[in-house]
């Protein structure tokens, strides 16, 4: 019925799993009944992703050139997958509702908001994050230009700005300051580094280096 995704059937030992978890929990509660509340909470918090009874889905995608095969809760966004499961914390969570652009990554070469797409929807996709943009220790020309032009202050929006800026140049929308401002309007910077970000993008575009 479905293409090439396997829904894990309910594992035969699910009930045992539940019982084991319950026992573990009860023992923890018994052992830690005098412990401070915060500690207790941390001790029993599930450690393997989101809670709930959603059936896990197998997912295969390429992140920064590496093929990943993962089984995840379908509620997980691409952003959470990158940050929480794959340890790629360069991509930032700003608003988590598609309004700020901090989570911008490239999916199959297109700039995309990773907070507004479920990871399962990217089965088979090629994802590039800020970690995959540089060539080892050698920074991407736009990263160099951001440093040169002081294109950031606190730096939180920067990975999203850089990913969006690279796409903006590749799309051919970096012809003038006005065009850059329009096509970068989906990336907010609360420090207000906008003029420097525009300068950085225009310079890389003008130099004509491959981005």
């Amino acid at each position: 019925m479905t293409m090439d995704i396997d829904h894990d059937a309910t594992p035969p030992d699910a009930e045992n799993e539940d019982r084991r978890f319950f026992l573990k929990q009860s023992m923890l509660f018994a052992g830690l009944s005098m412990a401070p509340a915060d500690f207790l909470y941390a001790a029993v918090a599930p450690d393997d992703g989101p809670v709930g009874n959603a059936v896990k889905v197998k997912l295969s995608l390429t992140v920064n050139g590496k093929r990943k095969r993962i089984s995840i809760d379908p509620r997980m966004t691409l952003l959470d997958l990158l940050r929480e499961n794959l340890g790629l914390t360069g991509t930032k969570k700003g608003c988590d509702f598609g309004q700020c652009g901090a989570c911008t990554v490239h999916v199959d070469g297109r700039r995309t908001l990773s907070c507004l797409t479920f990871a399962v929807m990217q089965h088979g996709s090629k994802v590039t994050t800020i970690e995959g943009l540089s060539d080892g220790e050698k920074l991407h020309p736009l990263q160099e230009a951001f440093i040169k032009h002081d294109g950031f202050q606190c730096g939180y929006c920067t990975p999203g700005q850089v990913m969006s800026g690279v796409a903006c140049i590749r799309e051919g929308h970096a012809g003038s300051a006005a065009e850059v401002r329009e096509y970068m309007s989906g990336n907010l910077c609360r420090c207000g580094a906008y003029p420097n970000i525009v300068d950085a993008i225009l310079e890389v575009k003008k130099e004509g280096v491959k981005v």
Partner: protein, 335 residues
């Protein structure tokens, strides 16, 4: 977020049969609105039918019409040769909306079906007849600066259990409404077509329904018949910031001119009503006339006679009137 089962059909028939089997299911396309609604608990489908792999991405011109598949991305439509040469108004409206990233994700079908951005709809602690039928309208006596000025019926100030003054947020739909677009819909009963003007609903009854789409139906394409508006069309969007904001007011104007006179005129307004607002009388008022600011001012003020402000949005009546004049001037090239 409530757990859901993820389904990925390969064909339109398979998708429709899944939706028919599971009434609680929802189709998922680009996700730019639905993922937010699910995160906030406003939508909680038990099955999510990911339609992104259906073969509905094609943009093509055949015979006398431009056909755009429901899964064509907004960014691809906006730069497509046939769109730019035949329906530049559509490209202009698309580029006025959202951001580079969102346009790379949002589909044409999803754009038609996006929900309002009324803040009362998104705030679960407050009443909203659209989100929770019968709970009342928070905006009527609340913060309504961005809300509707055309109500078309007794919804406003009539029955508090069914009133809704939210506006439709799309730019694309405003241009498409002016261009007399047809929506192609597939369901268990086969294919049907509906004009876009009849696709979205006014809020008069059942504001929880944005469209006349029946449960389980899938939008598969839109079609725009060839016209002679390409040389004299203009989309004007007015918003609180220079870019990346929903319209306070927008105007899609499409005119056919010859020998210094207007021979055909279509107009739709955005940000002013529960659906893209078609200005029906404009053709009669402009046909055979030579363009002038005085004429356009009369035309604009004529339509605004039926507008009605809420406590905070009286400015929109004047703003819409001015925007109509400016859009007509831009479309006809007079200064």
């Amino acid at each position: 977020m409530k757990p859901f089962q993820y389904l990925r059909p390969k064909t339109v028939a398979e998708a429709i049969s899944m939706a028919a089997d599971y009434p609680e299911a929802q189709y998922m396309a680009g996700g730019t609105n639905l993922v937010e609604l699910m995160k906030r608990g406003i939508a909680s489908p038990s099955k999510l039918i990911d339609i992104n792999h259906l073969p509905l991405k094609k943009i093509e011109h055949r015979y006398d019409r431009l056909r755009i598949g429901a899964l064509a991305l907004n960014s691809d439509v906006a730069k497509h040769k046939s769109v730019l040469s035949r329906q530049p108004l559509l490209a202009q409206a698309l580029l006025a909306g959202a951001s580079g990233q969102l346009r790379n994700m949002a589909t044409v079908g999803g754009n038609l079906l996006q929900r309002t951005r009324c803040s009362y709809f998104y705030d679960l602690a407050l009443p909203c007849n659209k989100r929770k039928p019968g709970s009342g309208c928070g905006a009527e006596a609340g913060i309504n600066r961005t809300h509707a000025i055309f109500f078309a019926g007794n919804g406003f100030g009539g029955n508090e259990k069914s009133s809704c003054i939210a506006v439709h947020p799309s730019d694309m739909c405003v241009a498409l409404t002016a261009l007399d677009t047809e929506v192609v819909i597939n369901g268990t009963g086969g294919e049907r077509r509906v004009l876009l003007k009849d696709f979205h609903r006014l809020s008069t009854l059942q504001p929880e329904l944005d469209t006349n789409l029946q449960p389980g139906e899938l939008v598969t394409a839109i079609e725009v018949t060839d016209n002679a508006f390409a040389q004299h069309s203009h989309y004007l969007k007015i918003r609180d910031r220079a870019s990346y904001a929903f319209a306070l007011v927008s105007v899609a104007a499409a005119l056919q001119m010859d020998g210094g006179r207007i021979w055909d005129a279509r107009m739709a307004l955005g940000g002013v009503a529960h659906k893209p607002w078609r200005y029906w009388a404009i053709d009669l008022m402009l046909r055979g006339q030579a363009p002038s600011e005085k004429l356009f001012r009369e035309v604009a003020e004529h339509e605004m006679q039926s507008a009605k402000a809420t406590a905070q949005n009286a400015f929109k009546i004047k703003l819409t009137s001015n925007a109509i004049v400016a859009a007509l001037k831009a479309a006809t090239g007079i200064s």
